[in-house]
């Protein structure tokens, strides 16, 4: 049968929703759901959960690109069939989890994974670096200020040992978003890699009439930088917009609303680094990431400046923080002035908030530490 373009509505099915999860449970999960007592990470990348029934499930966590092919998924299925009764899952951070119901089944699984080249690195548990949550970049999106998959590959190559070990003071969650829309939780990550534009939108007067609703474009700008204007196209005066470049902070929201206002640019675009965010409520409340490096260039294909910055921050943190201390908790304990000093990051005015709630971040106290910043 299949779809019949002549009768598109005939036999149409809709609103099925996702399949019921239970059919995909490995048997040991199905039997022990709600009965788990405790867990232990037996080695990096391997979790054991113990049930009150005495059952155990061993989970092997495997990292990898999120951008994967049909062939790759088929290979994953093959592994699941071989070791895991045909089941597997993905984590909330795009790792793959293979589960087995006995200790003895772990090593054969690990060996199999290891035998497949670098495709299935085991790790991402405990006090280490797990997979980088990321977005589309130049592989699919229209607004990116950087690529996603390539930057992630470059960074993870460099941090690989932190993925396969658990030597950090606490988990360190890295995320990447390729523009200020921040698809993901970049705004609440230990280390965030953020694509940023730095040039105001161009106005494509030739197309604007057809593709934009001008009032929406004008209303879209949080700083009111987009104003109505007139231009002459083919000798005819048309209604269009102009941008007050002094007030633009390059958020791209006007471009989202109006395709005739592109802002991407090879020189203008690049990466900002934010740090110290967290999501969990453990010890401290959730925290936003803070901007510490305003700009690094898009040096393709391996973004060495970005990779170095992330690594430097991670290692300064690893060296100095206390056990259990998340990156942001560490920075707050030592003071941000010490953070910049210990990470050897030059401080710039760009790190000083001048947006809406800015005053709350000013230092209204005489409490500070002397650092090299004070001459």
């Amino acid at each position: 049968m299949g779809y019949n373009p002549d009768k598109p509505m005939e036999g149409r099915i809709s609103d099925l929703g996702p399949p019921h999860y239970e059919q995909f449970f490995p048997p040991v999960i199905k039997e022990n759901k709600g009965k788990w007592l405790w867990h232990e990470i037996t080695q990096p990348g391997v979790l054991m959960h113990k049930s009150e029934t005495g059952a155990e499930v061993y989970t092997v966590r495997v990292g990898g690109a999120r951008l994967v092919s049909v062939e790759f998924i088929r290979e994953v299925c093959e592994i699941a069939d071989k070791h895991c009764e045909g089941f597997l899952r993905f984590t909330t951070r795009n790792n793959i989890e293979f589960m087995v119901d006995a200790k003895a089944k772990v090593q054969p699984l690990l060996d199999d994974l290891a035998s497949r080249g670098n495709k299935f690195p085991v790790g991402g548990t405990g006090a280490g670096v797990t997979n980088i949550v990321h977005t589309q970049g130049w592989v699919h999106c229209h607004t990116p200020a950087t690529d996603a998959s390539g930057v992630v590959k470059a960074v993870m190559d460099e941090l690989f040992d932190y993925f396969t070990s658990m030597t950090l003071p606490a988990q360190c969650r890295i995320a990447l978003a390729c523009c200020l829309n921040m698809c993901g939780a970049v705004h609440a990550s230990d280390i965030a890699i953020l694509g940023v534009h730095r040039k105001p939108p161009m106005i494509d007067h030739l197309r604007i009439t057809g593709v934009c609703e001008l009032p929406l474009a004008i209303a879209s700008c949080p700083l009111g930088a987009v104003k109505p204007a007139k231009a002459t196209v083919d000798g005819k005066e048309i209604k269009t917009v102009q941008v007050n470049v002094e007030r633009c902070m390059f958020c791209g929201n006007c471009y989202t609303m109006c395709p005739a206002m592109p802002l991407a640019d090879p020189e203008g675009d690049g990466i900002a680094i934010l740090v110290g965010g967290k999501v969990s409520n453990s010890r401290s409340m959730p925290k936003f990431s803070k901007l510490v490096i305003p700009f690094l260039p898009n040096t393709t294909p391996r973004w060495p400046e970005t990779v170095a910055a992330v690594k430097t921050i991670l290692e300064a943190y690893a060296k100095d923080a206390k056990k259990y201390e998340r990156l942001g908790e560490w920075a707050e304990r030592i003071g941000w002035e010490k953070f910049f000093e210990k990470c050897n990051i030059p401080f710039t005015e760009k790190s000083i908030d001048d947006y809406r709630l800015a005053y709350d971040t000013w230092r209204t106290s005489t409490q500070f530490k002397y650092t090299s910043h004070i001459k």
Binding site: I13, T92, D157, A188, S280
Partner: protein, 426 residues
């Protein structure tokens, strides 16, 4: 054989982390359009700029979401990606799969799409990356008819909800995140597929305050498990930890020598409310002071467990920074019982009340958190018929700028200035 030279991307084939470039090349062997993905991406690497056009509205009949339109801005040069729409397929709760199910889906995607995917998108969907407009309906037909599966959300509608693994493999989950996520996803299929909201809306479900699905940072309604009785303590296990027989934090720190475990330093002193102490070799907790931050439980999973009177905290209004800055979700209902038996009745009522209000009053492209900011938390609570309690805020206001309603003030607002002047010369 390579259709395009990719000297820059080739450099991403080395190194220990799996290479998407290698994977794409392998797929290109059977799906030649993948060469155009590589080719266009190589050009982006060379020119340091994207080559995708702005959006484009495509979809399947009757749905307003689930597909994101995308076209190359160099279609001549890269015809394989001239159309490159993504299809968002709703993922099962917790993202468990059978190989059978995945294979079937992969076969479909081999047939209708580029052969590339994202497992998974940031919201949680399976992202099938790149297909042509004319393939959408046939693909959707097969997806629904052959697999019994469906698209997820996009546009100004409810987005595909997501959850942490919860009770299926986590000892801390305070309610059944999978069942809750699944049943609400089914309940709100219409809201997912047919945009009727001012803007996007997201649900996420975490089983405990560790929040492994980052609900509080990413969802308009975040449902996060918690409890209201006492942390369960196994004092024998506490002793084992002290003796160093159980690894701290479930072994999460075993890669480094952090010295002998100290219950004082690692648990008692780090408790943010300072409500724990040791007494006669036993660990004591003053549960009335505990804020259920999970730290102590995280560190000693074999000795401590959440209580048994469990439920969830409901937080509202998280979002990314566009426009006014990012928001975390705000605690609105400190504790709600969560039960599949009554089909999460109380939560459903809550959700629909939020929607009723937001759909009426929210501006175009205004997330519910922004509407809350615009009208104020007291206003939102009033609409929700929730009594304001100190748990709603981190701290009371520090400005004195209180709004009073006329009926709250004795004698009302109307006054006679002449009468006033009779008593007070100007």
């Amino acid at each position: 054989m390579a259709k395009h030279e990719t000297p820059l991307l080739d450099q991403l084939e080395s190194g220990p982390w799996p290479s998407f470039v290698t994977d794409l090349k392998r797929q290109a062997e059977t799906k030649p359009e993948c060469w155009d993905i590589l080719g266009q991406l190589e050009l982006s690497y060379k020119e340091r700029i994207t080559h995708w056009k702005h959006g484009g509205i495509v979809g399947v009949f009757g749905y307003g979401g689930g597909i994101v339109g995308r076209y190359s801005d160099l279609p001549k040069r890269f015809p394989g990606v001239e159309h490159f729409h993504t299809v968002r397929v709703a993922q099962p709760a917790s993202k468990y799969y059978s190989s059978k199910n995945l294979r079937q889906l992969m076969d479909l995607w081999e047939k209708y799409g580029s052969g590339m995917t994202n497992f998974h998108g940031s919201t949680g969907d399976i992202i099938l990356l790149g297909t042509r407009t004319e393939n959408l309906e046939p693909f959707f037909w097969d997806l629904t008819h052959d697999m019994g599966q469906d698209l997820g959300g996009s546009g100004s509608n409810l987005r595909t909800p997501a959850n942490c693994i919860g009770q299926s493999r986590c000892e801390w989950s305070c309610y059944d995140t999978e069942e809750c996520c699944h049943s609400l996803t089914l309940k709100y299929q219409d809201e997912i597929h047919r945009p009727a909201f001012p803007y996007k809306f997201k649900f996420k479900f975490s089983g405990c305050p560790n929040d492994c699905v980052a609900a509080i940072a990413r969802s308009d309604i975040a449902v996060i498990g918690t409890w209201r009785d006492e942390i369960r303590i196994d004092q024998a296990a506490v002793k084992e930890y002290i003796a160093g027989n159980y690894p701290s934090n479930g072994g999460a720190h075993s890669g480094r020598d952090w010295g002998k475990f100290s219950i004082e330093k690692e648990v008692v002193d780090l408790c943010p409310t300072q409500c724990m102490w040791m007494e006669g070799g036993e660990l004591k907790i003053d549960n009335t002071e505990c804020t259920r931050c999970m730290h102590c439980i995280n560190v000693m999973p074999r000795a401590l467990r959440p209580g048994v009177d469990t439920g969830a905290s409901i937080c509202v209004g998280a979002k990314a920074p566009i426009l006014d800055g990012a928001q975390f979700a705000t605690l609105i209902v400190p504790f709600m019982k969560m039960s599949a038996d009554n089909e999460f009745e109380e939560l459903v009522e809550f959700i629909e009340k939020v929607w009723d209000w937001w759909m009426e009053i929210g501006k175009n492209r205004e997330r519910v958190g922004e509407t809350m900011q615009r009208l104020g938390l007291p206003h939102f609570l009033k609409v929700m018929e929730i009594e304001p309690i100190p748990q709603h805020v981190k701290e009371p206001r520090s400005n004195p700028y209180v709004f009073w309603r006329e009926e709250e003030v004795e004698g009302g607002f109307e006054r006679n200035v002449e009468e006033f002047r009779a008593r007070h010369a100007a």
